[in-house]
Amino acid sequence: MNLASLSASYLRARPLQTGLSLLLLALGVGTIVMLLLAVTQLEDRMGRDARGIDLVVGAKGSPMQLILAGIYHLDAPTGNIPLASVAQLEKNRMVKRVIPLALGDGWRGFRIVGAPRSYLELYGARIQGEFYSRPLQAVLGAEVAQRTGAGVGTTFKGAHGIGNEGGDEHDMPYTVVGVLARTGTVIDRLVLTSIESVWHVHEAAHEPADEADRKALEEDREVTVLLVQYASPLAAASLPRAINATSALQAASPALETARLFRIVGAGAEAMRAFAVVLVLAAALSVFVALYTALEQRRYELAVMRVLGASPGRLFGLLVAEGAVLAAAGSLLGVALGHALTSALGAWLEQAQQPTVTGLAFLPEELAVAALAVLVGIVAAFIPAWRAYRTDVSRTLASG
């Protein structure tokens, strides 16, 4: 027997009050842990997706939309830009590398992205099979392969339009020549092919009548976004302004736009966190009420403990231990609940083909949250513990 087992025995004997306190605490701690896990993982993931990309250049429109479409493949693109702008930008001395992407088609809700091999290298993707080398060959991201069941040798037809809305199917089928290993980045959710393939599929609709016609079509070729790497950090100061001011193009900085996005999303997370803190405080109040209102009913039990040799300090310790045991159990449940909620959120995001989160990762911050919740439980027990400390044994026994 010790203070903890004695406390636990008492708490088990009052399942309703104990259950209520545990529930409130678990909900509060669970919400905080879920937010912590989800926000951390999403930030981490978005950071990885944008790594090595200093600037995104595309058609004029909303800079955030350009970032969301060009890096994260979440939003519709702002429009297309002439192919000539690639060469134009590559000539700039402040630019180290330009990766053009051609968007516009999808397959079963996954985006087909026309991209050079340097795009795959940007994410360090290892491949099973081969890279595309000829038109109408495609490489699948790990998640695309897993969810569609497609593999090397599978043929499929892309459909016009991005996402699930399912536009008209193109006639020319792609053949899968390779599947990428999981990278934990955005390309897991992409179907990759050469830019030429994307052009090819779209030009097939209006077969060129003659050589002049073909020339005209080729001159009209477009790409959707350009991912730019700077040659020097100094480029950040002048290049975006130069592009935005002088050309028909728009340049957006991933760092600035994701920071802006997180300020918007962060406000929602902040509100949820505040709500969770209120839940934890309500739990503390319920611990306090449970212990305090029970004192009247327990005055003989506490007096008997004094009769059996307990000092007032030990009664104080007993009540504090009850608060601590309750809070520790509630926090533990809360951490488990937080991971379960995160897993549920992850499953739902995966269903929606969004960047997903996992409940199987642990963060050191969770320990701090749990420790803080235990501390709150202990503090909530202080006033009841003080009353127990002050028990007048002789008077209590004389009254009963």
Binding site: M1, N2, L6, S9, Y10, R12, A13, Y300, E301, A303, V304, M305, R306, V307, L308, G309, A310, S311, G313, R314, V393, S394, L397, A398, G400
Partner: protein, 210 residues
């Protein structure tokens, strides 16, 4: 030896207890008899070290307990005094065994299951060890309360109104239980009651008036 000298206790200006000179030899048994309001419960609390008297001194086995205080007194009580309360006050959420273990734990003595088993067997409730107090009859609960009082081998065994609301037969059994356990463990027994039926069991009686 248990002895009190010039003992008085007052609440405000009201004197509730006055015992000039009284003593009980070690291992003997004594009865404190008096109507309600005569201060006999106050005397019991003073002897147990639960209440500090306003005046006078209490000696128990070469120790002046009225001069002890705080946790020293608590510790002394846990190891040297066993108390059977009128309402028994077993801890309802603990099993019989855990109630006895609680006495060992709170007295900061080793938790000794063998001693618990011996004590329960001596009182004829060995088979109730895993039960909770609420599942026991009144008589069994009283035995468990006595077992909890004697499990630490106290030098002084105190009982507050052990026979009230019991019929003659049950009252006699309760007294036999206490005197038997005191004799078995060698404890000095002091029974405090208003019940005159108990008088014939005791050679030594302190009568308190109102």
């Amino acid at each position: 030896m248990l002895a009190v000298r010039g003992l008085a206790h007052t609440y405000g200006s009201r004197q509730v207890l006055r015992v000039d000179d009284w003593q009980v030899a070690a291992g003997e048994r004594a009865l404190v008899l008096g109507p309600s309001g005569s201060g006999k419960s106050t005397l019991l609390h003073v002897l147990a070290g639960l209440l500090k008297p306003t005046a006078g001194s209490v000696f128990a086995f070469d120790e002046e307990i009225s001069s002890l205080s705080g946790s020293t007194l608590d510790r002394w009580r846990g190891r040297n005094v066993g108390i059977v309360l009128q309402a028994l006050h077993l801890v309802s959420h603990l099993t019989v065994r855990a109630n006895l273990r609680l006495a060992q734990y709170l007295a900061r003595l080793p938790q000794d299951d063998a001693a618990i088993d011996r004590t329960l067997a001596a009182l004829g409730v060995a088979d109730k060890a895993a039960r909770r107090p609420g599942e026991l009859s009144q008589g069994e609960q009283q035995r468990v309360a006595v077992a909890r009082a004697v499990v630490n081998g106290p030098k002084l065994l105190l009982a507050d109104e052990p026979t009230s609301s019991l019929d003659d037969e049950a009252a006699a059994r309760a007294i036999d239980l206490l005197t038997g356990e005191a004799a078995r463990t060698g404890a000095t027994l002091v029974v405090v009651t208003h019940d005159a039926r108990v008088k014939r069991h005791f050679a030594q009686t302190l009568e308190l008036g109102r």
